[in-house]
């Protein structure tokens, strides 16, 4: 089992202005790591921003530098693809608070010369989006042809449309919500408590110790991974089948394939993700509620929005169920905004947005191209 994250070089930029956070704290000169794909045109009008999910990263269409795996949406973002990098300039930035090159708890605090750990300020989805907007400012990009994201990426896409309506032509929000539900907060809290209960977490100050809270982070990942799937999907893939054995062992080994699969998910996750980043990003999602600053009226977050909205949900997704997307659509109607919505059928639960989904791809392509 790996015990430390590999140091990897990422494409980075230091923001030339301070980032004021929703908490009131300020990051003086945060770093943003990002990847780009495809040429930008002279008018800088062909930019698509992709926002990544909780444990994803900026390597949307390029090989992950740690795992060596293809980008998480490499089938979607490619030359001639659904998001055609021959025609669009695609940007994906690692969110603030994460651990793939953007400032986060594992970054060095200039004040102490040591990693921030839990001294890193709590960030929000709004802060992530503000940092992305500053990145675009610095890259000289005023307006986005589209902002697209699934899950937490969808939250960012919604926040982009709410906070920067004049900079966004269209927003595609997939398998997401305008607020984190009590159930979602509950699952996140289980994950956080698993990390913090690991003695190797050491109050978050583990970076120099040579010990990482791999057990806690692994359990957090296992619990979360269940929420990304569906009962039908699990039954279809694993059922009650045993793992590499003919009979039960009458012990607590991973007898069942599903146990073995989850353990693998947990263990492989710790090689590529920082436990403190997991705490910070799950917290950011929990705090997300676009209606909160408007007295609970979500429509007021989008009043007279010129943005064209597309929303997609999956019928087996119980983490971000269709009802959450419908709530957004109703609010957008109430706000007089242009909104389309589709519920797609899939057995794969929340993860469906990352998997091969020709219906979703066709719809994405249509939405991106519409009106051109």
């Amino acid at each position: 089992m790996a015990t430390r994250l590999q140091p990897v070089q990422h494409n980075q930029i230091e923001l030339n202005r301070p980032l004021a956070l929703d908490s009131g704290a300020v990051l003086a000169r945060p770093t943003i790591a990002f990847e780009t794909y495809g040429p930008i045109n002279a008018a800088r009008s062909n930019v698509i921003l992709i926002c990544h999910a909780l444990t994803m990263d900026q390597y949307v269409a390029s090989t992950h530098p740690v795992t060596g795996k293809p980008g998480w949406w490499s089938k979607v973002v490619r030359p001639g693809g659904v998001i055609d990098t021959d025609r669009y300039h695609v940007i994906c930035a690692n969110v603030i608070g994460s651990c793939l090159g953007s400032s986060g708890p594992a970054s060095v605090d200039p004040a102490t010369g040591k990693p921030f750990a839990m001294a890193f300020p709590v960030v929000t989805i709004g802060d992530m989006v503000r940092a992305q907007a500053m990145l675009l400012d610095q890259l000289g990009i005023e307006r986005l042809h589209a902002v697209i994201g699934g899950s937490m990426g969808g939250m960012q896409a919604l926040a982009w449309a709410a906070h920067y309506p004049s900079r966004v032509e269209r927003a595609l929000i997939i398998a997401s919500a305008a607020r984190h539900s009590a159930q979602n907060i509950a699952f996140h809290e289980v994950g956080r408590q698993a990390i913090m209960a690991d003695p190797d977490w050491q109050g978050g100050d583990y970076y120099a110790s040579g010990r990482l809270p791999v057990k806690g982070l692994s359990v957090a990942r296992m619990a979360a991974h269940i929420t990304y799937l569906s009962e039908a999907g699990l039954t279809e893939k694993f059922g009650r089948q045993l793992q590499d054995r003919e009979v039960k062992t009458f012990g607590f080994d991973a007898d069942f394939q599903i146990e073995s699969y989850l353990r693998h998910q947990g263990i492989s996750f710790v090689d590529r993700f920082d436990a403190n980043s997991y705490l910070y990003i799950t917290r950011a999602m929990d705090y997300f509620d676009l209606a909160d600053p408007h007295g609970g009226r979500l429509a007021d977050a989008f009043r007279h929005s010129p943005v064209r909205f597309g929303l997609v949900s999956f019928d087996s997704d119980w983490l971000y169920p269709t009802a959450e997307s419908r709530r957004i659509v109703q609010a957008l109607h109430g706000a007089g905004a242009q909104a389309s919505f589709v519920e797609l059928s899939s057995p794969f639960g929340h993860d469906a947005f990352l998997l091969d989904s020709p219906e979703m791809w066709r719809l994405m392509a249509g939405f991106i191209e519409a009106g051109l």
Binding site: G310, H333, L344, E359, L363, G366
Partner: protein
Amino acid sequence: MKSAPTLRPDLALIAAQVPTGARVLDVGCGDGTLMAALRDTKATDVRGLEIDPANVSAAMELGLAVVQGDADRDLADYPDDSFDIAILSQTLQTSHRPDRIIDQLLRIAPRAFVSFPNFAHWRVRLDLLWGGRMPVTRLLPVAWYETPNIHHVTVSDFRDLLRGKGIGVEAAWYLSGDKPTSAAAATWRAEHAIFLISR
């Protein structure tokens, strides 16, 4: 952008009647053919509700704002008076409670176009009279066990429903094939009926 195909006769008639610049909700909008025509020729702010995801995708490709949903359930989510005109074309007879849908249409908009195939058309009557079987015609092409049309309605039935609810009829058009037919003969001769109703 894809060019809009030729409109079905009832849709062409509705499109011609919608005032320029109106806010329109097309309930059961299909692949968005009428919506696209309204947007392109009448500069209307037009939105759609459609039950079939493949149709919603097709409409989104035309750049239209269409929400997947079920008229029986999801019209309740639209605010009062959020549109100037609601359109329900060839969808009334597929709904579980056509009467409640009419109520919803006139809550969401002060005026509504409602079109449906007339089950009292002479060919349908003959089929039933002589064949003794549920008719399968050009406008009702699917056998009884798999037809989406679960509430067959005639011109007279619809007039009665409106009268019972105190709903006004601003205008009505009756089509036999592509040709208009008179109100007096409509109950026998109309294949399609199109009503413009108001509160």
